[in-house]
Amino acid sequence: MAHVEVTVNGVTRVADVEPRQLLVYFLRETLGLTGTNVGCDTSSCGACTVLVDGESVKSCTMLAVQADGREVTTIEAMAAGGAMHPLQAAFHENHGLQCGYCTPGMIMAAASFLKENPNPTEEEVREALEGNLCRCTGYQNIVKSILDAASRLSGARA
């Protein structure tokens, strides 16, 4: 077992984990944060995307021990004080989800992307989502949601 100390959603979590444990299972099964989903075993689908030190990471491609000493943010932390994050609100209002299984990963990937590129074009959003698969929406309303969130966020900054 390996000892890890990870700050997850602002709280320091200490645990002894199997060295082979993936970050996603550390989050889901050790910490009970089941909002992050697993959709594949080839790091293709992006359902498990979380933020590690503010950058999007597919949590099935990272070991829990690699997260030692780092900050992890999951979907559970996005709605601060009960109010939805602008990305969550935009997904809701633009019908950016259907079954909702890919949604946490989409939102985390989008959160990281909008930090890098706060005013993206549709094409840039589409390129940025290349690593996140959705089978329900055809992406059109996901793209629309992220563009909408971008303008909400830049409006909030202005």
Partner: protein
């Protein structure tokens, strides 16, 4: 309080969203129970082999392992095979299909043993220690090869690889084809498709050993059908009354969760044997082997026509790959398209035949569209071929062959009665939106200039058959169950309303849509309606969600249940107001006395009165609750016109979608936002089928496209935005006039895309390119047309 707001037709935001957006949803893998053990399945690395031995001893001695069983070890758990509910002909060959193979495996990934352990990792580790010896057998992977003499037999005991041949014929087929001045012959192949719901399957069985009871949680589209079928046919000594099935939040299905699967039976058996909750979660790599796949159909299609392109006859002969076994509705999938090969046109002769064939591949079954994409592809591709042959524009050939607009049930040659349709209207609107004439001019000028990048325009004027289904029609097609659905409305004393539906949504938004219908019918705010689904304990009646049936069958059941509520409430209101029922007007949840509108009773007030039961009319039961079970009198027939515009690089074969327009007619629309979302998703799956996705097996039955890394589920980066519109031709089948929209895009898109690519290259002599139209296939088709080697 009653409200004047009308919800039906409005863009009510989804009530399902908050928990999905915040990570609070409960999908199958999010559920945990005290004492829960994990199951892992050992799967065959061979497509066809005798199992000579299964040795589990080493596995059982590993850390945390509770048990390990072979197929023979589990044999007394079953009363029979996994169920196939659709024996399409009297003489169909139906092989035994055990949840865990006993002595022979017939496709890659078939279960040969299972391990149950304390943790996910321990179960997986121990599975590697199960030693299985195999004696490989000859493999057949192609359905047409499998029909040839001397082909390896998938099931030696059946003596043939042919499962069945099903036929349908109308009119003087031979005469029409012999005498027709024009006959167009086409041949199409629909590759294997892997459904890829982003949530893999998963099963969790929780036993109450002292009572012999089980709760089965499954990522399924069909909790009701599953409960009945698995206890009636598969599990030994498990009374249906002792099994409760719950579909928790389910992450997409597309037909792939419309089944009774081996793992559902085995997890139940494991929970029974260990007396503990047992969970199995499918890995994606398993999903590619053990979850049903779609399509894999050869079609020989012929159209007979006059010299100027008037359609006289349609002939479609199919060879459909069943895979190694018949799953729940495997043999029936081609039949869902069998009546639609004439599309929205009016030939006088019709001939359909389908032969279902066993191969050493994963079983096929329902995948979004199920039979109807194949039919639509055949007729819509062939209509373009006919247009080229007689020198007509693809829009013109369609227009001259459309059924004339109709609003009442109308007979078509295949024996169906289409519910309503105005096919010219959708096509006109689609052509207007896409700017058809301008595009044709652009296409011509690019050709005249000799541009390397050419333009192609593809039309698809599709029709589908939804609202499965009138139970008597299903009986005639030899389907084992009915096609009805059920809804219960319970008006609570506080004015809130609970709806229990027999449909089982997994992304479709039934909670929102059903709330809209109920809120309008009973005059309550949409947020006061709670919709419950997916649990056989509180919703005993249901036929679940597939085939774009939920709104037109389950939604109609809800509509009638609301009418029953209003009927009973009217009696109570009349009694309280001391007038006759005929003296009451009803609108938006409020009864008023004719001529005295201040004398009124609302549904919530009547619900309270019905609960206290202090002053009810004689012979009136307390409570305000109604159930309706609706068996549709006919199918519904959504239709539409999709137009795809592509740019094809003749030097590289690359295809880029420049524009995609879809005009759909799904009858009355309850929630336009949800309808559009389904078209987006459906079109995307159709484009994926046309351009990207193809499940490929090698000659030994190994799946070469065995993960998302090499089976190309498209991402946002590969796709355009779509431009959508609708026409509304209310269905004559049900009182709301709804038709269904879940599969429309997937049915419409593939021929629109491929017709566009062929159209782009038609001046070079290209007449066909197989799906998916990859750059390589396009490039080879161009080379071949130019006289070079393909």
């Amino acid at each position: 309080m009653a409200t004047a707001e009308k919800y039906v037709g409005g863009g009510v935001l989804r009530k399902e969203d908050p928990e999905l957006l915040t990570g609070q949803a409960k999908f199958i893998d999010d559920l945990t129970f005290p004492g829960m053990a994990w199951m892992y399945v050992v799967r065959s690395p061979y497509a066809h082999a005798k199992i000579t031995s299964v040795e589990t001893l080493a596995a059982v001695s590993m850390p945390g392992v509770i048990a390990a069983w072979s197929g023979n070890d589990l044999a007394d758990e079953w009363q029979g095979s996994l169920p196939c509910a659709w024996p399409v002909t009297e003489d169909i060959k139906m092989p035994a299909h055990w949840p865990v193979a006993k002595d022979e495996v017939r496709h890659l990934g078939e279960a040969v043993a299972v391990v149950v352990a304390e943790t996910r990792a321990q179960a997986k580790d121990a599975a590697e220690a199960v030693r299985v010896d195999y004696a490989p057998l000859p493999v057949v992977t192609d359905s047409e090869e499998a029909l040839k003499d001397g082909a390896p037999l998938v099931h030696a005991d059946l003596g043939t690889n042919k499962s069945y041949t099903w036929t349908l014929s109308a009119g003087e087929v031979d005469k029409v084809f012999a005498e027709a001045p024009v006959v167009v012959k086409e041949r199409y192949y629909h590759p294997r498709l892997i459904p890829n719901a982003i949530e893999p399957r998963g099963v969790l069985a929780v036993p109450v050993p002292a009572q012999g009871e089980f709760t089965l949680y499954s990522a399924t589209q069909i909790p009701h059908v599953l409960k009945t079928a698995i206890t009636a046919f598969t599990m030994a000594n498990m009374p249906e009354s002792k099994l409760r099935v719950i579909a928790p939040d389910v992450g997409g299905g597309f037909g792939s969760k419309l089944n009774v699967y081996a793992e559902e039976a085995v997890v139940l058996a494991a929970a029974r044997r260990t007396g503990r909750p047992v969970k199995w979660i499918e890995e994606r790599s398993e999903n590619y082997l053990s979850t049903i796949q779609g399509r894999d159909v050869y079609q020989d299609v012929e159209l007979a026509a006059t010299e100027d392109g008037k359609l006289l006859g349609v002939r479609a002969h199919l060879v459909a790959d069943m895979g190694a076994y018949l799953q729940l509705v495997t043999p029936g999938i081609p039949l869902l398209g069998a009546f639609l090969y004439h599309g929205v046109y009016t030939p006088e002769a019709y001939d359909f035949a389908c032969t279902g064939v066993f191969t050493n591949k994963t079983p096929t079954d329902a995948y979004r569209g199920a039979g109807r994409p194949e039919a639509t592809y055949a007729i819509e591709r062939a209509m373009d071929a006919l247009a080229r042959r007689v020198g007509k524009d693809p829009a013109e050939i369609r227009r001259m062959n459309f059924m004339t607009p109709f609003t009442e049930p109308t007979d078509v040659i295949s024996g169906l009665k289409y519910d309503s349709g105005d096919y010219g209207k959708t096509l006109d609107r689609a052509l207007e939106l896409v700017g058809y004439d301008r595009l044709r001019a652009d296409q011509k000028s690019r050709r005249d200039r000799g541009d390397a990048k050419v333009l192609g325009i593809g039309l698809s004027t599709y029709i589908e058959m939804c609202g499965l289904a009138p139970s008597q029609v299903l009986a005639a097609l030899r389907y084992a169950a009915g096609g009805w659905d059920a809804a219960t409305i319970r008006c609570l004393p506080t004015g809130k309303v609970v709806v229990v539906t027999g449909t089982s949504p997994h992304g479709q938004g039934h909670v929102t849509t059903w709330s809209q219908i109920t809120a309008d019918a009973l005059g309550v705010p949409v947020e006061d309606v709670e919709v419950l689904h997916g649990d056989t304990a509180f919703s005993p009646l249901g036929m679940d969600t597939y085939g774009s049936r939920s709104l037109s069958v389950g939604g109609t059941a809800l509509y009638f249940a609301a009418q029953k509520i209003v009927e009973k409430a009217r009696k109570i209101a009349a009694h309280e107001l001391e007038v006759s029922e005929d003296d009451l007007d009803y609108e938006a949840g409020t009864f008023t006395v004719k001529g005295a509108p201040d004398r009124a009773r609302t549904i919530p007030a009547i619900a309270f009165a019905a609960w206290t039961a202090h002053n009810l009319p004689p012979d009136t039961e307390p409570g305000l609750e109604a159930t309706h079970v609706y068996d549709p009198g006919n199918f519904t027939f959504p239709s539409g016109a999709h137009v795809c515009v592509v740019e094809v690089d003749t030097e590289t074969g690359e295809v880029r979608i420049v524009k995609y327009v879809g005009v759909d007619d799904c009858g009355t629309v309850i929630n336009p936002m949800i309808v559009e979302g389904k078209v987006h998703g459906g079109v995307t799956q159709g484009i994926a089928e046309a351009m990207f996705e193809e499940g490929v097996y090698d000659e030994n039955g190994n799946l070469m496209t065995s993960s998302m890394a090499n089976y190309l589920v498209p991402s946002a980066a590969e796709l355009p935005s779509y431009q959508l519109d609708r026409t509304v031709t209310p269905s004559s089948t049900n009182p709301m006039g709804v038709k269904g929209i879940g599969e429309a895009g997937t049915i419409a898109a593939p021929p629109a895309v491929v017709n566009a690519v062929v159209d782009a290259l038609s001046h070079l002599g290209v007449t066909d390119i197989g799906k998916p139209v990859t750059p390589e296939r396009v490039w080879r088709a161009i080379r071949q047309a130019k006289g070079g080697a393909a």
